[in-house]
């Protein structure tokens, strides 16, 4: 069974100037362990697709199944719990919580799940796996470089052992060398840990990492 499945999914935003069709009858199936890129020009519906995959938004019509759960008819709490338990988000701007230390940022999703015992150890273990030195654990995010912050963000996404990682331009704010290191990390997580990765990007060089690429044009999947 696919981890993510879209069947005839459409998303329409009603605006005073007329309806805007962001997604138009999209069919997608992403299998466990795949590394999939989503590419397309601005306004092609990439963000909408990512938001629905991340259960941050729901489709206007069609059927979406995420990690075995149909999201049609779910309320806000159900969608939130789906994100918490099955999805790891990696953002372009890292989006770490500035109030929390590095290790606390990674620990946070575990705390949300009500896991207090061993949360700190698990967070440290994942941080080490993404290449953050133990001496940085107690630093605040602002004290780290961009590349290090993105590694911490990936650790936070991985800590709950999600079904897939959803990455929105994860190298967009990094120089090319650091970007390559982050891509190598995601690639390693995909190959060695078997993590499913879905990544939205503008950068055609990334196709080398992916098993396949979904191209969106005007809200449709281009053949």
């Amino acid at each position: 069974m696919p981890v993510i499945s879209f069947e005839h999914v459409s998303k329409v935003y009603p605006l005073p100037a007329g309806d805007v069709v962001a997604l138009d009858g999209v069919d997608i199936a992403i299998e466990q362990g795949e590394f999939v890129l989503v590419m397309g020009p601005s306004g092609s519906g990439k963000s909408t697709l990512l938001n629905i995959m991340g259960s941050l938004d729901v489709p206007t019509s069609g059927e979406v199944t995420i990690a075995g759960n149909r999201i049609g008819g779910m309320d806000d709490d159900d969608l939130t719990l789906l994100r918490r338990d099955h999805i790891g988000f990696v953002f372009q701007q890292f989006n770490l919580i500035p109030l929390l230390s590095v290790v606390e940022n990674v620990e946070y999703p575990l705390i949300l799940k009500g896991r207090q015992n061993g949360a700190r150890e698990r967070a440290q273990e994942v941080l080490e796996a993404v290449g953050i030195a133990a001496s940085h654990f107690t630093h605040t995010p602002g004290e780290l470089s961009g590349g290090q912050q993105q590694r911490v963000a990936i650790a936070r996404a991985l800590v709950n052992d999600p079904d897939f990682l959803l990455c929105d331009e994860p190298t967009g704010n990094l120089d090319s060398k650091t970007g390559t290191a982050i891509m190598d990390l995601l690639d390693r997580m995909n190959r060695e840990e078997g993590k499913t990765v879905v990544m939205v990007t503008h950068d055609p060089r990334m196709t080398g990492y992916a098993d396949r690429t979904i191209r969106l044009v005007d809200g449709r999947v281009a053949e």
Binding site: L56, R83, F89, N95, E104, I111, L112
Partner: protein, 381 residues
């Protein structure tokens, strides 16, 4: 790390703003607690001044009937009406008195000698005998006139007769029946002979069981005022209650003034929290996207308001104690009133009100934060 911890850190992240908001709560708590203590102290002071006469009815002649006096027969009627409860008739007048060469005026109370002990306490000396020419002097009168020779054992001249001071009364405070502190108390028999008088001004009825007060009052009413109003009956408990109701209203009014300052403090908390939410829209978006529920976001912000409220209440409570001391010592003149449990309760009340105001003020910003759309919040710059 918990939501509580997160809230605490956020409060200390903007410490200056938090301190200013806390100062508002502190002032509000002090205002409520101190003004409450002040009102309560006035109440306590009044209670101390007024003798406990809650078990007493005072029967007076209705104005304009019978020359404003009660006859022996009317007193007998009252005695029959009240059953086994004690009836103490008395007369009062003012007259010139002299002690040695010194002259002055004083209030005289004439009470049957046998009834005096159940109404008044002697501090020194003894009660006068019914047949003798003895008298008692009030505590304030004794204190004020000692150098003029008016003291225990002194001889007081009233008209052409001389009375010996057999005792000095204990201080009784202001009463609704008689106020002997500045007066001279003489046996009624002496008064009756001296002034050739056989009528009374008022009758005090001591009701043994306070619960019978209304029944006894009704019984006198039935017997005396059947055809026309011969007597008026004053229920001292009722008067006392209305006096305390008045002081309570003063307390509530004063606390209302205090509450206004706490409401102002609440508005400042609301403002601080709204700022906090607006600044952290993106952060809220991140928290929501990684699986924080609406209710959890709300809780986090409510905790922040709770923190500000608790800090304000604790500091305000401690300062209220100091301010309460100053108020009771300077304005009321007796700092002991602060330590009365009813006064201390106002500090607790002020603190509780401070916390409640903070949390209530944080509610709307917290709700607003929880309602944010995570996608829009994430896009916020």
């Amino acid at each position: 790390m918990t939501f509580f911890d997160l809230a605490r850190r956020n409060v200390s992240r903007h410490w200056l703003r938090s301190v200013l908001a806390v100062i508002g709560i502190v002032i509000g708590v002090i205002a409520i607690a101190t003004l409450g203590i002040m009102g309560n102290s006035i109440s306590l002071m009044f209670g101390d001044m007024v003798t406990d006469v809650g078990d007493t009815l005072v029967v007076s002649p209705a104005t304009g009937v019978g020359g404003g006096k009660l006859t022996e027969r009317q007193v007998d009627d009252i005695t029959r009406a009240v059953g086994s409860n004690q009836v103490i008739p008395f007369a009062s007048t003012a007259d010139k008195i002299s002690v040695g060469e010194k002259e002055g005026g004083a209030m005289l109370y004439a009470i049957p000698a046998g009834d005096i002990p159940s109404l008044l306490e002697v501090e020194s000396g003894a009660y006068p005998r019914d047949t003798g020419a003895g008298c008692l002097i009030g505590s304030e009168l004794a204190a004020n006139s000692r150098e003029n020779g008016l003291k225990l054992g002194a001889r007081v001249r009233i008209g052409d007769e001389t009375l010996r001071v057999t005792g000095v009364l204990e201080e009784r405070g202001m009463g609704f029946d008689i106020n002997p502190d500045y007066a001279i108390v003489v046996p009624y028999s002496w008064y009756s002979n001296h002034y050739d008088e056989d009528e009374y001004d008022q009758v005090i009825v001591k009701v043994r069981d306070v619960n019978d007060l209304d029944a006894v009052k009704e019984s006198i009413e039935q017997r005396m005022n059947r055809r026309e109003d011969v007597v008026t009956i004053m229920d001292t408990r009722g008067i006392l209650e209305s006096v305390f109701a008045a002081t309570d209203s003063i307390t509530v009014f004063l606390m209302g003034i205090g509450a206004v300052s706490l409401i102002v403090a609440g508005v400042s908390i609301l403002n601080v929290m709204l700022m906090s939410v607006t600044e952290r829209i993106k952060e809220i978006g991140v928290l929501r996207s990684i699986g924080t529920r609406r209710s959890e976001v709300m809780r986090m912000f409510i905790y922040e308001a709770l923190f500000l409220g608790l800090a304000g209440a604790l500091i305000g409570g401690a300062l209220s104690f100091c301010a309460g001391y100053v108020v009771t010592a300077v304005f009321v003149g007796n700092p002991d009133y602060l330590f009365d449990p009813t006064s201390l309760l106002y500090i607790v009340f002020g603190m509780a009100f401070g916390v409640i105001t903070s949390v209530a003020s944080g509610f709307y910003p917290a709700w607003k934060a929880a309602q944010l759309n995570p996608i829009q919040a994430l896009r916020h710059e």
